[in-house]
Structures are given as C-alpha cells and as structure tokens.
C-alpha cells in the first residue's frame, strides 16, 4: 500500500517535472489528438484547425468558422480570441496554433521576423477609429475637435497597444492633444468605460461601435483616415494541419470572408 502510494507519487512528480522541463524548452506539447494518429490522411479536408485571432474578430470569425465547418464536414475550427500581442507571444512560446490573424501588422511581423510563419502573411481587412459616446451623449460630442474641450472625459487606448498607437497618430496628424482621463490597455476596456457612462467619449474602432449595438453611439470623423489599421492573417509554421489552415485563410480572404467582414464594418485591405 505504502509502496504503491510512493510509486504513484513518484510518477506524478516525474510527470510534473517532465512537463515543466518541456515547457521551459519552449516546445509545444503533444498536440496530436488520437484521431489523427495515422499520418496518412486523405486529401479531403478533415481534422481540427486552431485559429488564434485578434479579439476584434470575435463575431466575424465565429461566423466564418461555422461556415467553414458546414462547407467541409468532418472539420472543426477551434477559435482562440485575445489581444494580438498576447496571441503572438503565446505562438512564439509554442502554443499549438495553425492560423494567426492579427489586428495589426506589427504583431504579425514579430512572428514572421522570427521565421515562425509558413509563407508570408496576407492582409485581409482594415479598421479605422471612431468616436464612441454613451447613448445619451452627456458631453454633446459631435466631432474630433470636441474631444480636447475641458470637462469632456475622454478615454483612449495606451500608445503601447494598436488602438492607442492609432489614436496617437491621429493626434499628431491633426495637431491636437487629448487629455484622456484614462489610457486603457485594450479597446474593449475603452468601450466598457463609455458604455457604462463613466467616460463621455472614447476612441475605438468602427467595428467595436457596431458590436456594442445601441449601448453606445458612433461618431465617424474624417481625421481617422490618418491611421488605418491593417489586419494580416497567416499560417503558423509549426502547424500540423497546413492544408486545413490554408483552406481557412482562403475562406477569410475570399469573397465570403470579405462579405462577412464588410458587414461588421471592416474595410477592404
């Protein structure tokens, strides 16, 4: 009894250590599912494709994933949404992704510079900033020029994240200096501060305003054209299912993908 315990504990410990060491080495864990144990898979698409996509692509990619699964029976699309920077870090640390769709070219470049992509990335969408205000618009904001006015509580993204970099670009191009009450680390946090009425206005993407529905009002402004964000997509080099990955990218960059993305407010690349 005592011995059995000891053995089991030793095994567990060894396993934990092995896992730890494998993690340190930055190697991906054994990702093969029992289903694709046999290496000679037929040409017909099957299996699972894991897509790491920027948080702003949640609605569109969820829709496109269903369309993909419907068009290719026997396939499954696993979606993982987070900030592009987080996703790029996870992939470079060996996360088992097949496809990476970034909200900016900078994070995609981090992967391609490290030779972690299979082939070059393709741009598939663009996004521009828009002013979001609470539905009641308490500060009566109607243009970009209203934002620096005293008493208007403006929330933007911090310059370290793509939406903040875009906001900074617009500020520079227009010679305006915003005095934000908060610089958030993600566009969803900006939107949250606006939709809850904490802030009078926020700078977010056109698509975010659409997603938020009638909780916030979007005010497009021409100066936003100074900072257009481009979304690239690419196959991850360590992907075990590159055929499926490419097929998914075809769908996103093809006419069906374009239509879904355009409906959500994304521009053409």
């Amino acid at each position: 009894m005592r011995n059995a315990f000891r053995k089991a504990a030793a095994l567990l410990a060894a396993g934990a250590l092995a896992a730890g060491i494998a993690g340190c080495a930055g190697k991906p864990g054994p990702a093969n599912s029992p289903a694709d144990g046999n290496a000679s898979v037929a040409r017909a698409l099957s299996g699972t494709v894991t897509v790491y996509a920027a948080a702003s692509l949640k609605e569109t990619f969820t829709e496109l994933a269903s369309a993909f699964e419907a068009a290719h029976p026997g396939t499954k699309v696993m979606l993982n949404f987070a900030g592009s920077s987080d996703l790029a870090t996870q992939i470079s640390q060996g996360a088992p992704a097949d496809v990476f769709a970034s909200a900016d070219t900078r994070n995609m470049a981090r992967l391609s510079d490290a030779s972690l992509l299979d082939g070059g990335p393709r741009n598939f969408a663009t996004n521009v900033l828009e002013i979001a205000v609470p539905r009641a618009n308490p500060a009566s904001v109607s243009s970009f020029a209203d934002l620096p006015k005293p008493g208007v509580k403006v929330v933007v993204c911090a310059p370290q994240v793509p939406c903040g970099a875009a906001a900074e670009k617009v500020e520079k191009a227009t010679g305006t200096t915003l005095k934000p009450v908060s610089e958030e680390s993600s566009v969803t946090d900006v939107l949250g501060k606006v939709s809850s009425g904490e802030a009078d206005a926020g700078l977010v993407y056109v698509t975010d305003v659409k997603t938020a529905g009638d909780k916030v009002k979007g005010i497009p402004f021409t100066e936003a054209a100074q900072a257009v964000n481009t979304y690239p997509i690419g196959t991850v080099g360590s992907s075990k299912n590159k055929d499926l990955a490419r097929a998914f990218i075809e769908l996103v960059t093809g006419s069906e993908g374009r239509k879904v993305l355009a409906d959500a407010g994304f521009g053409a690349p």
């Binding site: 929330v155 994240v161 908060s182 009425g197 904490e198």
Partner: protein
Amino acid sequence: MTTSRNGTANDTPDASPDSGGHGYSGVPRWLYLPAAVGALFVMLPLAAMLAKVNWSQFIPLVTSAASLDALGLSLRTSAASTVVCLVFGVPLAMVLARRPFRGQRLLRAFVLLPLVLPPVVGGIALLYTFGRQGLLGKTLELAGIQIAFSTTAVVLAQAFVALPFLVVSLEGALRTAGKRYEAVAATLGAGPTTVLRRVTLPLVMPGLASGAVLSFARSLGEFGATLTFAGSLQGVTRTLPLEIYLEREADADAAVALSLLLVAVAVAVVGLSYRKPGRQVAA
C-alpha cells in the same frame, strides 16, 4: 496558553502528539514528495521569470518615470487600502467572532465573497456602486465628489478585494484566543471598550498584524477590479500590476523587470512581517 492544556502529569507523552515535542515530527515521510512538487510548482515559474530578466537593462527599466510612478502609486494606495481594511475589518471581525446573530453565516459568506470572486466581477460591481451612473455615484457626483478615474477608485478596488483577508485572519485569531480573559476583565469592572482596547486587541495582535500584511499584499497585487473600475493613467490610477500588463504589450523586458520588482516588494513585505499562523501570544 497551549501548554496548560494537557492537564495532569500522569498523562502519557503520546497523548499530546501536536505539542511539538522532540523526535516525532508528525509528518509521514512520503508526504515530502508531493510537498516538494507543490513547492516547485510555485517556485519554478518564478525561477523561469528570473531567467528571463534582461539584467543589463534592469535598472533603467525599473527606474523609468512610468515605473517609479507606478511603484509609488501602488505603495501609497495599498497603504491607504490597508487602513480602510483595518477601520472596517476589525469591527466586522469582532462582530462575526463574538456575537452570534441571525444571518451571521450569510453575512460572513458575503464578506468573504471577494476571496473567490473574479476581481473583474468586483470591478463591475464597484462600477455600478460608485460609478458616475452608479447607486451611490450619482449622489456623490451631486455632492461634488467624483470617484471615477481617481486614485480613490484604486483604493476602493483594493480594499474591496483585501478586506476578507483581514476579517478571516482576525476572526480566526479571536476565536482561538477565546473569551476567558475578556470575561475576567469584565468581572473586574472593565467596560466593553476598555476590554477591547486593553485585553482583546493585544491578545490578537499577531493575527491582526498578519491580516493587515495580507491585506497590504493583496492590495499590491490588485489588478482586475482596478482595471475595470478605476481606469489606467500614469501617476493617477496606473498601479504596478497595470503598468506590467500594459508594458507586456510593447516591451516584454520591461514587463519582466517590473514583475520582478513587484515580486521583490511582495516578498519583502510578507517575509518581513508575516508571522507563523496560529502562534499565540506568549505572555
């Protein structure tokens, strides 16, 4: 106090296995292995982070204006939130430990809720309480008090998540200490406030101190509620954890350096002042 427990001298030595005698440790040998795995589980990630530190850049990274602002803000707000926890947590723990009343278990469950609640949820709840459109926020705004996006909001978020740590530690200490000395003091003519001040609080001081330290440490690490409720602006609401979260987006080296700084501060605070749990007042 514990020494007087094992009554008479003709008790066999084995009758008190927990008395910490010599020779017998009470820990089966096989227990060491999972204990070691557990310790490793906590320490390995810290070691991995340590290995990632860019030492040549470490000093400039942690002494940048943004980093120092964040560190200073974190220390100040954590100290303030610890004071808030003491002011409200001590009475709360007294009430919970000393006076049984209807709904006490429910009250305790609610007080402890922030321990298990995701901090984001706490942040949302605070937003709907103290936010501009919130339950109290509207009234406060009419009175000219704005909490949104202020350092006060950071302190509130920290106190919300840290309060249970103080209450749990202190309630435990109060229950272990028992009421005997208080009863004696009362029969000798001391009023309730005198008993509290001269007997109860000195008796539970170690528990109170460790509770305060835990509250401070928890405040220092507070992230989710602050992010959701207070916002993020350098020097005003961007505490060290928020700065780390933001830097991680742009500069991994800076994030790792700041993480190490936070770990060092936390270890210093907890290590220097946290006493063995359960140890009672000796004299």
